[in-house]
Symmetry: C2
Subunit: 248 residues, 2 copies
Amino acid sequence: MSAIVSSPYRQSDDNPILGGVYSPSDFPPFAVTVDLVVLTVRSDALCALLVRRGEAPFLGRWALPGGFVRVSESVDAAAARELAEETGVTGLHLEQLATYGEPRRDPRMRVVSVAYLALAPDLPVPVAGTDAAAASWVPVSEVSSLAFDHSRILSDGVERARAKLEYTPLGTAFCSAEFTVAELRRVYEIVWGVSLDPRNFHRKVTGVEGLLVATGETTARDGGRPAALFRRGSAAVLYPPLVRASGV
Amino acid sequence: MSAIVSSPYRQSDDNPILGGVYSPSDFPPFAVTVDLVVLTVRSDALCALLVRRGEAPFLGRWALPGGFVRVSESVDAAAARELAEETGVTGLHLEQLATYGEPRRDPRMRVVSVAYLALAPDLPVPVAGTDAAAASWVPVSEVSSLAFDHSRILSDGVERARAKLEYTPLGTAFCSAEFTVAELRRVYEIVWGVSLDPRNFHRKVTGVEGLLVATGETTARDGGRPAALFRRGSAAVLYPPLVRASGV
DNA sequence: ACAATAGTGTCTATCAGACATTATCCG
DNA sequence: CGGATAATGTCTGATAGACACTATTGT
């Protein structure tokens, strides 16, 4: 067992497994990180949690929160840990998005990053992460070019979120524990960038088995007739789905 | 820049990025591999391409084909390379499935594996890979326990394929270049494990814009009235989708 | 002729979308 | 009361699914 050369960029492109049993010195070393696309709906916009980089490369540029996977934790656990560190909240919806592994996506060394998508209700204030100079919610429509390939990752995450609203109950992940049908509708309208018929939307979501659980309470926070309050139900899929780009 | 210790299992669980600029010696080393779920439809069954392991651990057990990502190639390129090596065919549909990163999923060292899903027409014979003792098409219903966590990866891939048939034209990826509506229907029936109404299926798939392109030719390979032959169209999504667990 | 498969037509219950109406708050 | 929002009801065109029927081959 010999030491690995410190540069991750080996010149040889030979298949390291050829020629028999491999040992740790036979494979090229990679760093593995997690990057988080954390989305929320606040002040009438779909927003992503971004951090401002405090070091080179891309010093001062916005980037997705994330960090290295530790050697004794699973990749999923690393994502959950980073999410808790960045938002200060646990129990958020978190799912794997995709893995990004271009050779030069990080100019310093070979890094493979596993991206995760998290959907959060409107949290009070982003917690400044341990490894980031500043954290902030930024409307996705105003995000320009992020560090590394994070712009691509963010748009993949936004597209995934938009698609997931169609056939899963994840729209409720953007709402607080108790919410009205109108608040859920606003989530759909903002995430999809369309306007939906309040009457048809109400009929649709209240008709889906297991999507909403009435609390019996009402609220009149927006004036007008008080609206019934609901909690998330146990439904795992939305059937029939809500179809994007329609009157619902 | 110091050499990395050869054991990938560092004892320290500290965040390697804390305390300033990191260098390659600051991050824990991982091996990165690709695993392939290659599916085809042959002899009335959904089959996966499996290889028999020629070395420990799991010597003699069936496993998914795959291999190490080389240091100068992207993860996607590694998957495409391995697929070409295993099947001898290029141009197959290939998409990322998920990434599996439990700490002890490989008993020898820390390996993060990016799994890919490939759909193939009925290929003549699997090519014995360079690093596998034998390769074979195995009906997924007869697959028992595979090496590593490959059983889990395979079932994730099968479920993804089943879901993709609903709203994408990927059913045609299981067919050869020219095919009949009945052959496409058999694909759906076998992958989903249901029986579909031939008349409604015909009306449905021929009604989707851009899914099928008539060649003008016909064939009578199954007796009866000759069937029109089609090629894959350019449609990227199936709208309206075909719904599983229905009469179509 | 008959069997077998391909392809078209028809009917009906259901549903999405448009929109009217009623209900219940606040000021 | 008027304004605002919530919730329910009605109508219509489109469609999924069930199934009858016609078309074209081989034996």
